[in-house]
């Protein structure tokens, strides 16, 4: 089996994986708790909800699909969706600034933002 990978291949694989982990760590450490959940459908902002207030919102996605967004305990998650893969439901709860829930079939993105002003991209590094 060692015929198929040499020293350089190990280095390449290690660099890729460690680099990704480092990026994830930096991103996680620099994350702050968010204040708002912004809902985008097909790229346009359709609603903003405070994380401090419990809520249950039905999002009408692109092409007639719906996702049920639930906000409680300062976190947001998709409780139910009519898309076939349910990936958005499995993405779990998000509360940190910049984190997202994505439903590809319905083109729905829920992003956590920090402030009430429109400066969401301030954290980008």
């Amino acid at each position: 089996m060692f015929k198929y990978f040499g020293r350089n291949d190990c280095i390449l694989i290690a660099v890729l994986i460690l680099g990704a982990f480092a990026a994830a760590c930096i991103y996680h450490i620099s994350g702050k708790d968010g204040k708002l959940a912004r809902v985008y459908v097909d790229g346009t902002l359709t609603g903003e909800y405070l994380l401090s207030e419990e809520a249950r919102i039905d999002i009408n996605g692109y092409g007639g699909g719906t996702n049920t967004l639930v906000i409680e305990d300062g976190a947001a998650f998709i409780e139910e969706a009519d898309c076939p893969d349910k990936l958005c439901v499995h993405q779990g709860r998000i509360s940190r600034e910049g984190m997202e829930l994505v439903c590809m079939p319905n083109r729905v993105v829920v992003r956590i933002a920090g402030k009430d002003e429109n400066e969401t991209d301030a954290y980008t590094w």
């Binding site: 291949d9 890729l16 990704a20 985008y40 994505v102």
Partner: protein
Amino acid sequence: MRMKLMPTHGKEGPSRRVAFTALMTALAAAAGYLEMLFPIDIFGIPGVKPGLANIVSVIVLYLFGPAYAFMVMAVRVILIGFMFGNMYSVIYGLTGGVFSVTVMCLLKKTGLFKCTGVSAAGGAAHNIGQLLVARVTLGELNLVYYIPVLVVFGTLFGSIMGVLSGMVYDRISKGDNNDRIFEREA
């Protein structure tokens, strides 16, 4: 009985190469379909999949070079996309495939890596390419959050597929003593 599938350099005409490429394309399409039957759901992130069809890309790249690798990849994506998917799966697949094959061609050209390293980088590049399409189609998408996970899984699965393609390559090219392509080209 072991069939000698591989053309010996210069001794045989292009018909064998054409037949073999067609065989490889069919195999890639079958691998792609198999993957659609058993989707893997880790962390709820779309795009994490083993990339079985990448085995074929790597083998064709090593056997016949970049042009054939691109062709086989494109035909596979379009076939699978129109048979079992939709326009979007074709766009996603093509972008991922072009990224992947391009990176694999370049890495192979450096001569520093064996098939595993080439395939690992190809897997990572494939996922990054698909993420870029997702950003374009979805508009708002925070890339920083997804890239690490997709790169890790692309690299892991890519490595496994790289070792597998090395094994397959060795078996189908058995008998050609001059074909030590998978060794480092020093």
